[in-house]
């Protein structure tokens, strides 16, 4: 893995032009991410969390404010940042190993071979090197996407709702997988999700975003040891607190007995 990098975002504003006028996607975002940490960003649709991730990735320019990685401002995409999308975006006509190798350019063939093998093993898909994406399940395909995102040894890995397209059970397996991968290499990870449990399970901190305009509501630290128990009181407590940010509390449930 690449040496993990830290990320500093100061007073980030982003608006998109419309046919008439513009829409403000992000307002006054401040965020500090420690190198090697795992940050979850949670919010509803339209809160700008994907836009935030894309700005960090360098896919969106034209923003105001500072976005710095180890002190250097972000200016376009780069191999220091890897990204995993909600859809796996594997090229259907390339095998699994060719898809991972696709990310490696300008390296000698032997190096490419060893890195691909290393990362396929990391995601547990060594036996499927020659398979075509069409032959893989959703979870397996996403694992290949993760391997591809890591093969350039990025300093930050960005994950944009990476398990949103998978079924609930696969999702939980993949959460454990990404945890394992992170613990193996300690790359800085920034995960965007709408799944509150996922955010708490994975992150050192949970950034709660509100929408319209997109801004950081609060940042909750999660000081639980891993692996986390989703039914432990502390877990449930944090979940309650985040819930409250989104939903009005149901006070004392009133029950009737007849």
């Amino acid at each position: 893995m690449g040496v993990a990098a830290g990320l500093d975002i100061v007073a980030l504003n982003k608006s998109f032009p419309l046919a008439q006028g513009s829409v403000q996607a992000l307002t006054g975002i401040d965020l500090a991410v420690q190198p090697g940490s795992f940050v979850s960003i949670v919010g509803t649709s339209g809160c700008g969390k994907s836009t935030l991730l894309r700005i960090i990735a360098g896919l969106e320019s034209a923003f105001e404010g500072g976005v710095r990685i180890e002190g250097r401002p972000v200016a376009g995409p780069g191999l220091d940042r890897g990204m995993v999308f909600q859809e796996h975006r594997l090229l259907p006509w390339l095998t699994v190993e060719d898809n991972v190798a696709f990310a490696l350019n300008g390296l000698p063939a032997a190096e490419v071979k060893s890195r691909v093998a290393e990362h396929l093993e990391l995601v547990g898909l060594t036996g499927f090197a020659k398979a075509l994406p069409g032959q893989l399940s959703g979870g397996m395909a996403q694992r290949v996407a993760i391997a591809r995102a890591l093969v350039n040894r990025p300093r930050i890995l960005l994950l944009d709702e990476p398990f949103g397209a998978l079924d609930a059970m696969t999702r939980i397996v993949m959460q454990q997988e990404i945890l394992r991968i992170w613990q193996a290499g300690r790359t800085t990870m920034i995960l965007v999700t709408h799944d509150i449990d996922e955010a708490i399970y994975l992150g050192d901190q949970v950034v709660v975003m509100s929408s319209r305009p997109g801004t950081v509501k609060t940042v909750l630290p999660v000081n639980l040891s891993r692996p986390r128990d989703r039914s432990s009181p502390s877990f449930i407590d944090i979940r309650k607190r985040i819930h409250r940010e989104f939903f009005a509390e149901a006070e004392h449930p009133i029950g009737f007995e007849i």
Partner: protein, 283 residues
């Protein structure tokens, strides 16, 4: 045993029930049923055609009966005349198509990959595209004489535009999500073209090639209006001048059959090249 019980007892295996004979059910197996459906329509048409002739409802000079056409088919085949004409037309079509495919792919790539080239060539292409190959015949004769070059040129014109247009479309349709991915991974341009754009465009390109071959074959008649002394188009025109409608029909049907065979061949090639793509076949 009741009839129903007998039927139920004899009910084994898949397939549509076709008839009942003494309690045993004769079934049309799925593959036989499929084959029957495939040829049913043309077969029915031929029967109708012969029937109308037998009833005296069609004058043979307007439309000779299938029996006469079949006889003409036979005599032209055994004398080797028909195979010879087919071979010559095929040669011309393949030559014209080869040039059209090469030029269409090359230009299509250039235009698809570069906005500049697209802008520079668009007007000229849009102006020339609607001109039917037949309209080019006088110029073709002036430029190339009445030999093979003029005929191949007409065929080339027919096949070129489908290949060009579909190649451009295929490239334009490149999934923008892959484009974004390539940006993120800093994939060099050449690799981007060979690993992302071209494979993604291949289905559309194959469609363009298949249409191109079809049009090339359809242009063979037009091209052989240029002083041909052989070929299927020539056979048709010659028969027309001698009022041999049965031979005209032989020529037309041959064109249809050959077209079908070419398409089958190309479909097979397409399947081999694009093994990764699941397609909708209807249900």
């Amino acid at each position: 045993m009741t009839a129903e019980a007998a039927l139920a007892a004899a009910d084994t295996g898949p397939g549509l029930p076709l008839a009942e004979a003494g309690g045993a059910v004769i079934r049309l197996t799925p593959s036989l049923g499929r084959a029957a459906l495939y040829v049913a329509l043309p077969a029915a048409l031929i029967v109708l055609w012969q029937g109308l002739f037998e009833l005296g409802l069609i004058r043979p000079i307007l439309l000779p009966p299938p029996t006469k056409v079949a006889a003409a088919f036979w005599s032209l085949t055994v004398t080797g005349e028909l195979p010879r004409h087919i071979a010559i037309s095929l040669e011309r079509v393949l030559a014209g198509f080869a040039v059209a495919a090469t030029a269409g792919l090359a230009l299509g790539l250039a235009i698809g990959l570069s906005r500049r080239v697209d802008r520079a060539t668009d007007l000229l292409i849009q102006l020339i595209k609607p001109i039917p190959p037949i309209a080019w015949i006088p110029l073709a004769i002036l430029w190339f004489g009445i030999g093979e070059a003029a005929k191949v040129y007409i065929i080339f014109l027919g096949a070129f535009f489908p290949v060009l247009v579909n190649t451009i479309d295929g490239i334009r349709q490149t999934d923008h999500r892959y484009v974004e991915l390539a940006r993120l991974l800093e994939v060099p341009r050449r690799r981007f073209i060979t690993r992302v754009v071209l494979p993604g465009a291949l289905p559309a390109i194959m469609t363009g090639l298949r249409i191109g071959v079809m049009v090339a074959w359809m242009c063979v008649v037009a091209s052989e209006l240029i002083a041909a002394s052989s070929g299927i188009g020539y056979l048709i025109m010659d028969a027309r001048q001698l009022s041999q409608t049965d031979v005209v029909l032989v020529g037309m049907i041959t064109i249809g059959i050959m077209g079908k065979l070419l398409d089958v061949l190309l479909k097979a090639i397409e399947r081999r090249l694009i093994r990764w793509k699941p397609t909708y076949q209807g249900h």
